[in-house]
């Protein structure tokens, strides 16, 4: 019996995981300094306690089990479970992201319909696009005067450009043949927009939506590390303060998993609007 490629790749994946865990355990320690009969000085130096250290895979896994068993615990405003933190982050990402969808898609549509407008706005978009999210933060805090709304704004401002550009580009590059089909069927502008241009541009628009979702998720972590309070970014920051790298690694994994899930979500939705020529 021969194995299918899928089975081969699954086996390889599992093998790599084992290898990773094995090597990880080999090169990391648990931070304890294995000393007995400590002098007072040594005790105060923490030689009897665990030190900050790079955690091995098993330590991280144990921590993950512990954290995920009570994902919504609440020990006061500055110590909440990973589930709660992720929930806050996702909420903020969604707020900023949806806001930019609401604005970027129609605006991008209009820009794409007018080459003059497109050209006129290009320089501004190109200047604003590469600005780091953290550069927006002080400005947002100053103007909006609310740290949560500011992080939502930063999500908004960073995720809007790929959407705007992709929507405009998608609309602009709708094949003239498709437009001609609409024209010969005497469609008015509105009908044309919804029955020809939008469906034709949707795959490109969704590419922008996916890029933006990725950016939003990157940005929220950075923004929350900066302003703190709640969210996965704050969680990372709080654990980093204590040099608790196992928790940092665990939250990095969670950030990755949620990021992947958000991306998969958009990808899943986009499948319904995708087409092949």
């Amino acid at each position: 019996m021969t194995m299918t490629d899928t089975r081969k790749s699954i086996l390889l994946s599992i093998g790599l995981l084992f290898l990773f865990v094995f090597i990880g355990e080999l090169v990391t320690g648990d931070g304890s300094r294995h000393k007995k009969n400590l002098t007072e000085y040594e005790t105060l130096m923490g030689l009897g306690e665990k030190q900050a250290h790079v955690p091995g895979p098993i330590e991280v896994a144990k921590l993950a089990v512990k954290e995920l068993r009570h994902p919504f615990y609440d020990n006061g405003p500055n110590d909440k479970g990973i589930g709660t933190q992720l929930f806050f982050s996702i909420l903020r990402v969604m707020a900023g992201y949806l806001l930019s969808v609401i604005i970027a898609v129609p605006l991008g549509f209009l820009i794409g319909m007018s080459p003059v407008f497109y050209k006129a706005l290009q320089p501004y978009i190109q200047i604003l696009k590469p600005i780091s999210p953290l550069a927006w933060m002080p400005l947002a805090l100053f103007v909006i005067k609310d740290s949560i709304l500011s992080s939502v704004f930063v999500i908004f401002i960073c995720s809007i450009w790929p959407m705007l550009i992709n929507t405009a580009f998608g609309v602009m590059s709708v094949k003239s043949d498709f437009l001609n089909v609409g024209k010969t069927l005497e469609m008015n502008n509105v009908k044309m927009a919804f029955t020809i241009i939008l469906p034709a541009a949707l795959p490109t628009i969704f590419t922008g939506l996916r890029i933006s979702m990725g950016i939003s998720w990157l940005v929220i972590v950075a923004a929350e590390m900066l302003v703190g309070g709640t969210g996965i970014g704050y969680y990372v920051w709080n654990e980093w303060n204590n040099l608790d790298l196992a928790s940092v690694v665990f939250s990095i994994l969670m950030i990755g998993i949620v990021g992947m899930a958000l991306d998969a979500m958009i990808a899943y939705i986009s499948k319904y609007f995708d087409y092949q020529e």
């Binding site: 498709f178 024209k183 005497e186 034709a200 092949q276």
Partner: protein
């Protein structure tokens, strides 16, 4: 007063040359007419301006000079009265085969019920033998099938004038042949007024009542009108046996190989005048001339 169904009078088209103030004239002084029920083919070298003329007729592209009128109405924008089958089928890839056709029908027959629209669409898809594939997406179709969807879509809106731009250009010979047969069959049935662009001389002879020949661009002209006086209904297998067939065929080949460039040279040097164009060529006359060794003027 024009009595013809469609009248094209002295139209020309020019485009501004990029980064300069001058214009390039693609074609000029083009005049011809189409009668109701007529099947017209337009033949010419690549780039001479055939698609441009077709787009002018469709109203997708406006002429720079002259006028086009259909049934007394000036043609200056697209209309449901003129159905177009595009050079590359232009089926909307995000819609199913059926939806591609129903969408067009809904545009034309605004008051028709959903069920009627659908049965009409199915009727026309059946006509092109696609009734087994109505729920497929265009990406699941072969090139020939896509082209048939285009044909069904165009016929389904019952245009007064059907415009086809090399509808079978991208297909293999076998598929093309089958579709030509289909087209012959449908046109015979519906007496559809049609203007078609093709590079395929045999196809043109099989389908046309008249063939318009274009000289080379730029500043191309519709130089000649060849009358295809072969009785209908025609048949791909038997038409070759008709005495006029090879006469016309040879004539067309000669035009494309030699005359089209010669004519544009003559127009430039002034040895040929626009008022003599287009020449009308009668195949019977040709045949007679040939048999009596009379040299073509």
């Amino acid at each position: 007063m024009d009595t013809n169904f469609l009248n094209v009078k002295n139209i020309s088209k020019s485009y501004p040359i990029k980064d300069s103030n001058s214009f390039v004239t693609i074609y000029e002084n083009v005049s011809f007419s189409i009668d109701k029920g007529e099947f017209i083919c337009l033949i010419g070298h690549s780039g001479c301006g055939k698609s441009t003329i077709l787009n002018n007729l469709a109203g997708l592209n406006l002429v720079s000079g002259g006028s086009i009128s259909m049934q007394g109405q000036n043609v200056n924008k697209p209309s449901l009265d003129r159905g177009v089958i595009f050079q590359n089928h232009s089926i909307l890839p995000w819609l199913s085969v059926l939806k591609n056709v129903t969408m067009a029908i809904a545009c034309k027959f605004k008051t028709m019920s959903k069920a009627d629209i659908e049965s009409r669409a199915i009727h026309f898809l059946k006509m092109v033998n696609l009734d087994d594939h109505i729920h497929k997406k265009p990406s699941e179709l072969s090139g020939g099938m896509k082209q048939r969807v285009g044909i069904a879509r165009a016929f389904a809106i019952e245009p007064s004038l059907l415009l086809m731009d090399e509808p079978f250009g991208a297909l293999d010979a076998l598929t093309r042949g089958k579709l030509q047969d289909k087209l012959v069959e449908i046109c015979d049935k519906t007496k559809q007024t049609t203007f078609m662009i093709t590079h395929d001389i045999d196809e043109a002879i099989l389908l046309s009542d008249k063939i318009l020949l274009m000289s080379d661009g730029p500043e191309a002209r519709v130089a000649e009108t060849v009358i295809v006086d072969i009785p209908k209904p025609r048949n791909r297998a038997s038409i070759v046996n008709h005495p006029a067939y090879y006469v016309i065929r040879n004539y067309l080949v000669d035009f494309l190989v030699n005359q089209s460039s010669l004519i544009s040279q003559k127009l430039k040097t002034g040895s040929l005048s626009d008022k003599d164009l287009p020449l009308t060529v009668d195949p019977l006359q040709l045949k007679y001339n040939l048999e009596n060794n009379i040299i073509n003027p």
